[in-house]
């Protein structure tokens, strides 16, 4: 069960970033934190590292998302995958 922390940078335009936030909150694998300016901290929990990778790409393609940057990944719950 990899647990990844990411920072998502949203477009400054309000409509776009509200829609992006709503889309992120709809995905149960994504826990959205408190916004800091245009940046949103989030934690991704996926079954596999591959799924985590795909999820990062998915988020990057959400309209209103400018960038997804990675902060950390913890695989200690799944040591075989390290």
């Amino acid at each position: 069960m990899p647990i990844a922390s990411v920072v998502i940078t949203l477009d400054a335009r309000a409509t776009l970033h509200d829609a992006a936030l709503a889309a992120l909150r709809d995905d149960e694998r994504v826990e959205v934190g408190n916004r800091v300016g245009a940046r949103v901290p989030a934690v991704l929990e996926t079954r596999t590292a591959d799924e985590g990778e795909a999820l990062v790409r998915e988020i990057a393609s959400v309209p209103g998302v400018l960038l997804v940057e990675l902060v950390g990944v913890d695989r200690s719950l799944d040591e075989g995958d390290a």
Binding site: M1, I3, A4, S5, V6, V7, T9, L10, D11, A12, E31, G33, N34, R35, V36, G37, A38, R39, V40, P41, A42, V43, E45, A49, D50, G52, E53, V56, R57, L66, L67, E69, L70, V71, G72, V73, D74, R75, S76, L77, E79, A82
Partner: protein
């Protein structure tokens, strides 16, 4: 709270802090970082710079039961403030590919056969002792500083010649000669802080969105907060960076010199250059008949006359960039109310006119006074984590000595001989072979002038990364008297046919020190054990040096008869060549503290090793303060920032080639490249990198997530060319140059989009060796080959009958 909930909470804390801290340049005092990395789950954390690119992000490495289980962007690191790109995020996995090299392998009867370390060291030492002059070392910008220093000292101090090179010759040598020609000293004056302050960012043949994503995100983040940062992308193909650009200017390959001259022409013609800055701090220069790096002095009027033909209309004809865009660039540079940062990397460096274009871009900044204030900087980036720290600063090149000293100068040799305690004359004044020449000679029969017979490659993969490998690398593998030694962590295109393969420790399996693109020296400690019998490269060098000493090779003794790499602890010599005792003392610290004595000469001062164990890197010059602390330098040559600038000077180019504190503004003409498209080979071929893979892919192709994300090489082609050739997206084609051919799939409108007539292929894929096709023609000063342009053709693959 269970462990899962605890980890999620920690992850959210880390992300929240990173989001706050990542507001680069915004707050006078960013939130104080406190590490959210609780040791409660048994994971032990320590700092290290990322193993991959020259950005030099710091990571926190989490180790549990002797294995890396977690990676986090280091919240205390100024470079990345807790963020990482996709490669950095997976960096821990680079250690755990299934096919790590774990034993020395000696080719016996054509088969690589396991042997002991003692035998491996003996084989090398006996070969070298028998013929030291034909032995060479080829390393890299992934060597740690102590590794590079040990290799350099072994060759130059121990064997008394200069046959040492590093792969950084292939990626940033033209940046070095550009800096030397302009300022008289290497490496950028500015730093990453410029990205937080610039109003305009110009990327010259550069794609930081993929290659230096953490730096690029600093700028994008500013824009997302509503700051106005104008991004101008000057390139030969559209990239991910172009997608963010306000203006994307596509130029015909090789014509970037015309663009830079066009800007300078308008600044001079319209009188919008910074006359005050130029009068006080600059002089003018142009190429001389002897084609020296220093060229000849010219007057401002000469300069103006030489630029005269670079009118916007002429530049449009030469480069394909619209005259109005040249005017736009010149108008931006002509404004004093803006701060302009230029970034470049391989596009300008891997260029047969690399030194010339580097000098021209510095010149445009100097001419317009866009220099020396935060945000106003011409800055070259590097691709490797220690291309600057090891290759440029330690000087692991055939002409260089540590700290910017050179073998050609008697006083420089004497200074190094003094620090090494070797007799005068030990260091040879004869420059060795640059990379292309070294490999050419290694691939030439010994009786036909091939006077490099034994070559030791460490931490690099020339069998894949050299240009024109058919000519420069492959022949050596068929010549009986050539002996190739390779130290690496995985099997590669270079280890494949090597005579001796040595398994190396990787990254946090050893101590290390790197130096990144912004003059930042970064240290880390060993955290995990390497697999099998893998050992640090620095130990391998010291063990061979000791065996040479035992065999009586005279250069391995200093003036007092002691082993050249004598390392002491509590006043007693430690037998560091014996691996059982290698970690009895910190060898890195001993080598680094010796090396740093040589860094003051050109004012590249480094602090003692111990200072770096506490910091997330320090930017040189690092100078001791009256209170005993050590202060780094963000902006060189600028009063108040750089301790070497005299009071009242404002800006002082104190390493000036003309010894008058002036930088040189160069004129260099646009010239034709060595190979251009023609009727037989109608396309331009450009090669480069992709986000997911680091250089030749040796590490990143073993990280399943990265390999799956970008599984193989491809050729990018425009939709127009594809339709003209009747080729579909994904279809395999034959790509051919005068040097070779490969078959690979076409990608239309993929990651990048070349214009009609241009192609792009990444070089990470060992199975599709694009460097069988590239040119080895190189810049006359930097000797750096041009991987960015040669003539190619493409045809559909014949259908199997």
């Amino acid at each position: 709270m269970d462990r899962r909930a605890f980890l999620k909470q920690s992850a959210m804390a880390a992300a929240t802090m990173a989001a706050a801290r990542a507001s680069f340049g915004q707050a006078a005092a960013p939130p104080k970082p406190t590490l959210p990395l609780a040791p409660a789950n048994g994971v032990k954390w320590d700092k290290a710079p990322c193993r991959f690119c020259g950005t030099g992000c710091h990571v926190q490495v989490g180790v549990l039961a002797g294995k890396i289980v977690a990676i986090q962007g280091d919240p205390k690191a100024e470079v990345n403030r807790g963020l990482l790109c996709v490669k950095g995020y997976h960096v821990g996995l680079a250690l755990y590919g299934k096919d790590r090299l774990t034993r020395p392998l000696l080719k016996k009867n054509g088969v690589q056969t396991p042997i002991s370390w003692a035998e491996a060291i003996d084989v090398i030492a006996k070969r070298v002792a028998a013929d030291p002059a034909t032995f060479a070392i080829y390393g890299s910008g992934q060597w740690t500083i102590p590794e590079g220093y040990a290799a350099l000292k072994l060759i130059k101090g121990g064997l008394g010649h200069n046959q040492i090179e590093a792969n950084a010759r292939l990626c940033m040598a033209s940046a070095v000669t550009g800096f030397l020609a302009t300022y008289g000293v290497d490496e950028p004056a500015g730093c990453y802080d410029d990205l937080d302050r610039c109003d305009v960012l110009i990327t010259w043949g550069n794609n930081p969105a993929e290659m230096h994503p953490i730096l690029f995100s600093r700028v994008i983040d500013r824009r997302s907060r509503g700051e106005k940062v104008t991004l101008i992308d000057i390139n030969t193909r559209r990239t991910r960076t172009s997608a963010f650009a306000d203006r994307s200017l596509l130029f015909k390959p090789n014509t970037d010199l015309a663009i830079a001259n066009g800007i300078a022409h308008l600044l001079v013609e319209r009188g919008t250059f910074d006359k005050d800055f130029v009068d006080k701090h600059c002089a003018f220069r142009a190429p001389d008949d002897k084609k020296t790096l220093q060229g000849k002095a010219i007057s401002f009027d000469d300069y103006k006359r030489m630029l005269a033909e670079y009118t916007p209309a002429n530049v449009e004809k030469m480069s394909g960039v619209a005259a109005k865009d040249i005017v736009y660039l010149a108008e931006l540079f002509g404004r004093r109310d803006l701060r302009i940062t230029s970034l470049w990397c391989m596009g300008m460096n891997q260029h047969t006119r690399g030194t010339a274009i580097n000098s021209l871009v510095h010149g445009v900044h100097l001419l317009s006074g866009h220099f020396g204030k935060p945000g106003d900087a011409p800055t070259s980036l590097t691709g490797q984590p220690s291309a600057c720290g090891t290759v440029r600063e330690v000087g692991t090149l055939c002409h260089a000595l540590p700290g910017g000293l050179v073998v050609a100068k008697a006083e420089d040799r004497a200074e190094v001989e003094h620090v090494w305690n070797v007799p005068p004359g030990r260091i040879s004044a004869k420059v060795g072979y640059h990379t292309v020449e070294m490999f050419r000679r290694f691939s030439t029969p010994s009786d036909k002038g091939g006077d490099i017979k034994t070559l030791w490659v460490q931490t690099t993969n020339p069998g894949q990364s050299l240009p024109n490998v058919h000519e420069l690398f492959e022949p050596s593998r068929k010549l009986a008297d050539k002996f190739l030694i390779v130290s690496d962590v995985y099997p590669t295109a270079t280890t494949k046919d090597a005579d001796l393969v040595l398994p190396s420790s990787l990254w946090v399996e050893k101590n290390g020190v790197f130096g990144n693109s912004e003059r930042r020296t970064q240290q880390w400690f060993k955290m995990v054990e390497p697999p099998g019998e893998a050992r640090p490269d620095v130990w391998q060098l010291l063990a061979v040096a000791r065996r040479l000493y035992e065999l009586g090779v005279p250069g391995l003794k200093d003036k007092d008869g002691a082993y050249l790499f004598d390392v002491k602890k509590d006043g007693k010599s430690v037998p560091v060549w014996d691996f059982a005792h290698f970690f009895d003392v910190n060898v890195d610290e001993a080598l680094f503290d010796e090396y740093r004595k040589l860094t003051k000469h050109h004012k590249k001062d480094l602090a003692p090793y111990a200072e770096y164990t506490r910091a997330r890197g320090l930017r040189w010059p690092v100078v001791e303060q009256p209170d005993g602390s050590w202060k780094e330098t963000r902006f060189r040559f600028t009063e108040g920032e750089d301790p070497y600038v005299a009071k009242g000077k404002g800006v002082q180019f104190y390493q000036s080639v003309t010894k008058d504190d002036r930088a040189q503004i160069w004129f260099n003409p646009q010239e034709a490249p060595p190979e251009s498209p023609d009727a037989d080979y109608p396309f331009w071929l450009c090669t480069g990198r992709v986000l997911e893979h680091w250089h030749t892919g040796t590490m990143t192709m073993r990280i399943p997530q990265l390999a799956r994300a970008m599984p193989h090489a491809y050729v990018e082609m425009s939709r127009e060319d594809a339709s003209r050739l009747g080729v579909q997206d994904g279809e395999e084609v034959v790509l051919e140059t005068r040097r070779g051919k490969i078959e690979l799939p076409v990608w239309i409108d993929g990651r990048g989009s070349p214009p009609p007539g241009s192609l792009f292929v990444p070089f990470f894929d060992e199975r599709l060796l694009i460097n069988e096709l590239t040119l080895h023609e190189h810049d006359p000063f930097s000797k750096q080959p041009d991987y960015k342009k040669c003539a190619a053709r493409v045809r559909k693959k014949a259908k199997a009958s």
